[in-house]
Subunit: 150 residues, 2 copies
């Protein structure tokens, strides 16, 4: 993690931008070993009519695209919400070194909750995981989004 | 399942075509309630430099694209190999009614093995699952592919 946590600030920006587009406000950033931002993305499920277009998948895919390489073994995935099982497994397939997330997601998360992807015997690469980074802001964004829609 | 299992025959064709492109030979097909084929795809992980470009994800995405709708609630996903946790969760997010797969995958599967996505408390839609359809052919394709690379 960089000292000032700035990649998570970018992820929060992406989350806010997603919310403004009526997407669930989740944002993701991929940084390389030097801390350079390779890709950033927010949820695009509604815009793409694609339930798999989560911020994490889009950012991972864009990061490999940016480098022309298939794997991201030196990289960190920053995301404002605990990844779901789909995105957790995707991060494993991309061989991401570390996953840093904001809010915990007891209902839909797949890292510290539910399927606990990295603890399953079918997981052949488990990234280092850091949860709760700027958790309060990440969770507040989600709470406000869903409260406004109820 | 249609009486003659023909969508799985198409999925097997996609798997063979993927193998011929040096991709892990897995193929997938999405059919609607009337049995019409909405989309078909093979693995494109190598071609796209994208470890998330599994046949299932590509077929699901193409099927929603073909219909301009976000969900596939009346649809069946046919795939030659037990879906991994990423693809199993994606099928849930697309609200697929049924997942029919060929070979079981004790090492990487996420439906009957490993994370057992549809049994996890974080899974809010569990498709009906039918495994082992044309299992022998599906498994033989994979075995031959990996044997040739060893």
């Amino acid at each position: 993690m960089t000292a000032d946590g700035s990649p998570m600030a970018l992820a929060l920006e992406e989350a806010r931008a997603a919310g403004a587009r009526d997407e669930v406000p989740v944002g993701a950033v991929v940084t390389d070993a030097a801390g350079r931002v390779l890709a950033r993305a927010g949820n695009e499920v509604e815009a793409r009519h694609d339930p798999s277009a989560h911020a994490e998948i889009l950012a991972l895919r864009a990061a490999t695209g940016a480098r022309g390489e298939k794997l991201l073994a030196d990289c960190t995935l920053w995301v404002t919400l605990e990844p779901c099982p789909m995105c957790a497994q995707a991060a494993s397939f991309f061989r991401v070194r570390r996953v840093v997330f904001g809010a915990y997601d007891p209902k839909g998360g797949g890292v510290e909750h539910g399927a606990r992807i990295y603890a399953a015997p079918s997981c052949h690469h488990a990234p280092e995981v850091v949860g709760g980074v700027r958790e309060t802001e990440s969770a507040a964004l989600l709470r406000a989004f869903f409260a406004a829609r109820r």
